[in-house]
Amino acid sequence: MLEQKELERLIRLTKIGLSETELELFGSQLAKIVDYFQNLKSLSLSNVEPTSHVVEITCPRRPDQKNPSPDNTLLAKMPWVKFDQFFVPIILDALSEE
């Protein structure tokens, strides 16, 4: 059961602004989908290991070497750069989020 309050929390968590109409539409659509997912509850999973990776390999590692030919044109291709730094038009207080 996906409740309205939970939906609002999720919207804040995922930083997605929804209009009133979207909020209403999503409310019912998402609840229906979550209800469908309940069919998994009928399975007995206590002895089952989760699968995080379908390939059975271990993490490859690379040698600790600097890139001999870095791409210096990257920064020039980014849209919001000043003084060689990315910028957001907001003052960020180190202690707050807004």
Partner: protein, 480 residues
């Protein structure tokens, strides 16, 4: 219908080139002509590189003297789904949030295509961020099915499948997370291959669901798909989930041309129950009947957890998507909303305005599935069900080498029919999703029969990294 150059296969075109019956420019121009004729109706492309393509073809005409040691893909016009990065071209993922983003690097698969002389003709349309099964969820409008423009082309690689089908490219790359190459291939009447997870590098594929995504190959023949796979596939040091395989470079040639006397085929009963359009079922069954005398055995098998695959798949893909799309925050690149006074506004407005409906739905639900307090119940459970589904396949593969199923429960459906009901759309993925969860290779080929003139797709699923057997069976059926 007379076939023009743009309707031929890679192999056929190569033969003509070697015999000097056509030039590289002839091929590219044929494709361009067809694009000019059909593209307006189909809307398969988001970006086109006609001039560059023609220049490249002319260059090849001037420089190529000898076809020995020349890659078979050289000079072949290929379309690339617009969620795979091609350097210096727009990479939109059919989303407003990336509508102005120019790729600063080539995906590994693109680098390999370029090294082999392929001509990239354009970036194809898709469901936004590859989330969808119809290619209707695009910022650039829906893709139409070349067989009937009122129907969907399938998704999410609808653009890639449609352009190959109508002659706007000889072959294409798409991406397949839960069926996004196989299903549009089946709706458009072309061949679509999803490799084993780990066989093709994902570096440069815009991530949707990292543990499921694979770059798939779309072409008119099984052999063409195999060619594409042999060029773009293989271990990549930039992708930590790609696998090193000890195979000879030309394994696909041997695979395609052999017979199938030694092969045991399984037919999973759960794929032939109610929900499957009877005519689609009949078309697939006819193919099974035809192959039965020529292989070692055809038997019914069971994949008992099939009914849980949709839930497991959607929980996993939504969770991973919500994570992978967190980087679209209007800080470094992409769409930035106007008049934002706080950081929170910058995020919420940009993401709210930049993402389409389906993407937003999945991000929200995905976050829910991973949330503190809900993780075990949703994402954790889905991962365990994934294990059960894998085990189902492992068990049947002890007895058979491949499985044959329909690709989709229906043929191409009408535009607008399912987009108002997300769950309805999800449920149509039922046959393709299990192979994705298990990471298995799977191909969709057109059946001999059509349903009211529409193509029907037949799916062949194989053991991990056994593309060889999948392609063998597919090529045999193709020869019917």
């Amino acid at each position: 219908m007379t076939r023009e150059l743009c309707d031929l296969s890679i192999i056929e075109l190569r033969n003509l080139l070697e015999k000097r019956k056509v030039s590289f420019s002839d091929i590219t121009n044929s494709v361009v002509k067809r694009i000019n004729e059909k593209e307006k109706t189909i809307n398969g492309y988001i970006s086109l590189f006609i001039e560059q393509a023609q220049e490249l073809a002319q260059k090849l005409d001037k420089e190529v003297k000898d076809f020995n040691n020349l890659s078979i893909l050289c000079g072949i016009p290929i379309a690339i789904k617009d969620n795979i990065l091609v350097k210096d071209a727009l990479i939109t993922c059919a989303s407003k949030i990336l509508s102005n983003f120019i790729a600063p690097y080539d995906a590994t698969v693109i680098r390999r295509l370029k090294e082999n002389g392929a001509i990239i003709i354009g970036k194809t349309n898709l469901d936004e961020f590859a989330m969808g099964s119809s290619s209707e969820m695009s910022f650039y409008g829906a893709v139409s099915n070349p067989h009937n423009p009122e129907l969907v082309a399938g998704g999410s690689s609808g653009g890639s499948a449609a352009v190959v089908a109508y002659g706007g490219a000889i072959c294409a790359l798409g991406s397949d997370t839960g069926g996004s190459v196989r299903q549009p291939a089946s709706f458009c009447g072309v061949v679509g291959l999803k490799p084993t997870y780990g066989r093709v590098s994902r570096f440069g594929l815009v991530a949707f669901a990292s543990s499921l995504d694979q770059i798939g190959q779309i072409a008119r023949t099984v052999k063409d798909c195999a060619i594409l796979l042999s060029v773009v596939g293989g271990w990549d040091s930039a992708d930590s989930t790609s696998v090193k395989l000890p195979e000879a470079a030309d394994w696909w040639i041997k695979a395609i041309e052999s017979d199938i006397n030694d092969i045991k085929i399984g037919i999973p009963k759960e794929y032939f129950v109610s929900g499957l359009d009877p005519d689609v079922g009949k078309a697939v069954t006819n193919m099974i009947k035809a192959i039965t005398p020529h292989c070692k055995e055809v038997k019914e098998v069971s994949l008992p957890h099939t009914q849980y695959a949709i839930s497991a798949y959607y929980l996993i893909n939504m969770a991973e998507a919500s994570s992978n799309l967190a980087r679209y925050d209007a800080v470094k690149y992409g769409y930035r909303a106007k008049d934002c006074k706080t950081l929170r506004e910058l995020y919420e407005k940009s993401r709210g305005e930049g993402f389409g409906e389906e993407v937003k739905r999945r991000i929200i639900l995905g976050a829910y599935a991973l949330s503190k307090g809900y993780y075990e119940e949703y994402y954790g459970t889905a991962q365990k069900v994934r294990t059960l589904i894998r085990n189902d396949f492992d068990n049947v593969f002890k007895e058979v080498s491949v499985l044959i199923t329909p690709t989709s429960p229906t043929c191409a459906f009408r535009k607008g029919e399912k987009i108002t009901d997300p769950l309805k759309m999800y449920l149509s993925d039922i046959y393709t999703v299990p192979a994705s969860l298990a990471g298995l290779p799977a191909i969709s080929i057109p059946c001999k029969d059509r349903v009211q003139g529409l193509p029907v797709g037949l799916q062949i699923i194989g053991k991990p990294f056994d593309e060889k057997t999948v392609l063998r069976v597919a090529a045999w059926l193709e020869r019917l």
